[in-house]
Subunit: 162 residues, 2 copies
């Protein structure tokens, strides 16, 4: 369930370097950080820290848990990744080069379905205006069961009756 990408002028890598350079005290761009940025933006996934570590190790990169956590925080801060609070752990998704959207989250299979909604964005602006609230961001997650899992359940229920 992937939305069309947004055209951006810089590569994620370049954007991250820019962010690092612009810090009060310039920060360094290391090989491991470069590998992470490239790996993360070479696919479009919702992932958590542990998955990323496993996937990168499987792909032959050497990464340490601590550095992954530290770099993920920087990537969020740099505006490359967006954080999703989902149950006990954090999930991450592309922010840079990807449109604003909301989520349907299937509690059976874990699938994330993305959707865009001008109506929600309009409501958001209106509510903020009414309350003189300055929004930094928002989360809209609908929890439930996706079409596939629903079908599976139906089938199972039918079988149970036999």
């Amino acid at each position: 369930m992937e939305l069309p990408a947004v055209t951006v002028s810089q590569s994620p890598e370049a954007k991250f370097r820019e962010y690092l350079a612009s810090r009060p005290r310039p920060q360094r761009f290391t090989d491991q950080q470069r590998d992470m940025v490239r790996f993360i933006f070479s696919q479009h996934h919702h992932f958590d820290a542990e998955q990323l570590i496993d996937d990168m190790k499987r792909a032959g990169f050497q990464v340490s848990r601590a550095t992954v956590y530290r770099t993920l925080n920087k990537l969020v801060d740099a505006g490359l990744l967006r954080r999703l609070e989902l149950g006990p752990r954090m999930y991450y998704e592309h922010d840079y080069g990807y449109p604003q959207h909301e989520h349907l989250h299937c509690e059976q299979c874990g699938k994330m379905i993305e959707f865009q909604s001008p109506a929600i964005e309009a409501t958001l602006r209106e509510v903020c205006r009414q309350h003189q609230f300055h929004a930094n961001g928002h989360t809209f997650i609908i929890r439930g069961t996706c079409a596939e899992c629903n079908r599976a359940r139906m089938t199972k229920r039918r079988l149970d009756l036999v």
Copy 2:
């Protein structure tokens, strides 16, 4: 920022007893649970487990952390409380006798502002229909700075310039 309550026929306590009695194996209604239900529904707050423990102890009730966590889970299950994922911990709010609503969360002062939006509910239904998704619940939280904190910041900024 409190919305008008919804009229309900049972007290939260009665509703909880009913839930406990209707379990596959009936569960018991203890003094500590009764104190918790009464305490929680005697005020309208967004609270977390730790706050509840502190507040109840201060009010002279004897409660243990483990039991509070266990009872909060039951109350959510019973439909009395709704859970809000906000950063690293869980927050709770009234569900029973309280209308469906969304939240503005001030990151400066922690205040929760509640609002209702028919537009959002309509969008939710429409999106679910399109994706044949069966919704169990949703979370819509707008993060940012509330009017008060905004004013405070403005003032501070003005002072900084002097």
